[in-house]
Symmetry: C2
Subunit: 241 residues, 2 copies
Amino acid sequence: MDNKPALHTCISPALLHLYDLSNSIIVIIDIFRATSTIAAALYNGAKAVIPVDSVPKAIDISKNIDGIAAGERDGKVAEGLEHGNSPLEYAKEFIEGKTLVLTTTNGTRLLQMALDKNADTIISGSFLNLSAVCDYIVAEKKNVILGCAGWKDRFNLEDTLFAGAVINRVKKEFTIHCDSSLMAEIIYAKHKNNLTSFAPKLTHYHRLVERFGLIEDIKYCLTPDAANILPVYRNGKLIVE
Amino acid sequence: MDNKPALHTCISPALLHLYDLSNSIIVIIDIFRATSTIAAALYNGAKAVIPVDSVPKAIDISKNIDGIAAGERDGKVAEGLEHGNSPLEYAKEFIEGKTLVLTTTNGTRLLQMALDKNADTIISGSFLNLSAVCDYIVAEKKNVILGCAGWKDRFNLEDTLFAGAVINRVKKEFTIHCDSSLMAEIIYAKHKNNLTSFAPKLTHYHRLVERFGLIEDIKYCLTPDAANILPVYRNGKLIVE
């Protein structure tokens, strides 16, 4: 037995009950696109991202703090909002110094579930901030849950690929006895050099690209370290400490 | 759009609610070891296998029909039973003409869940009867759910490898838009020629081999078509029609 901390991969929010979050860091992963948008907005100078679970709440909160209400439902800008869930919407010129109030289909929901389960620490992970996530979890020496947001509880490969990328980098620092983590690492090892050409095989790619033409979003969301900051959840907000 | 039937892979019983079983064949998959034992017992001449959800029920039913009560809990012979969940226990000399009343940790439970969800048809799949499963689902031309029993709702790779083996053989006959199926096929394609040398990496291998020394079980359970019959669930029993 070694006494390294444990790392598990939770491949759907519907499986979160299997894991003890109370003494763990959970990495919320919603590659297409919530956690990529969170990384991009904070990297480009947003003061904070406030994740909320409904459009009315996003509008209410954003009014009170002079923030930007944004979000998507089923892959497009949510009805009643002017801004969506594309990381490319949040360039420095637009978002610097502002607070983004964001509601999304999957990522926001998983974050709320992690709160309800009293996670020790919640951070947000995406390829855009891969190194920041890896550096943080290695330095903290706590148990880690890589929490894939999936799509309405379904497994998806883009979140799993990111989990695999993290495992590939940090595995020597953790005890990993978990078939989900092993699977994620195998899939990532096979496709790490062709992520963008593999993407058209993914269910969610079709949703985003064929229906909404979001190919630039996809490419950006698969770019390692393009917005390499660490969003940590503190008192209702994702911030860079 | 083509009008081939759809095939999905359900990678944990906790995700079964995402799938419509009412017009689908569900393949129950519990490679280590329930569905391997079911295939072996029926191949070796058992009249039927009756899956039940508790040890007392297994004992009661087996008494009434002069059957063999068998089952496992947490990988070993269940307390109160003399026979376990090893396919190698059910050689022809022992099981021919008898009815096996079987209770297991995961496979039995998933089968009961499929019944509760009014599955159109329930069959049992394992490497031992891979060809029989593939031939059947191709011939039926119905929607298919490959149902991985997992381990207490956790994802496992052995069930996924079998799902991948099925997909690898039948994919031209089905419409498959499902990241779980794509993942299963990738994992299987990578390891199809080294299943037994890959097995020691799996969580459940450690449970069975390091704790209970069941290496011969593992090898047998990974042998394609070693007991190539089709167990179909009819009126409370798995039988060969």
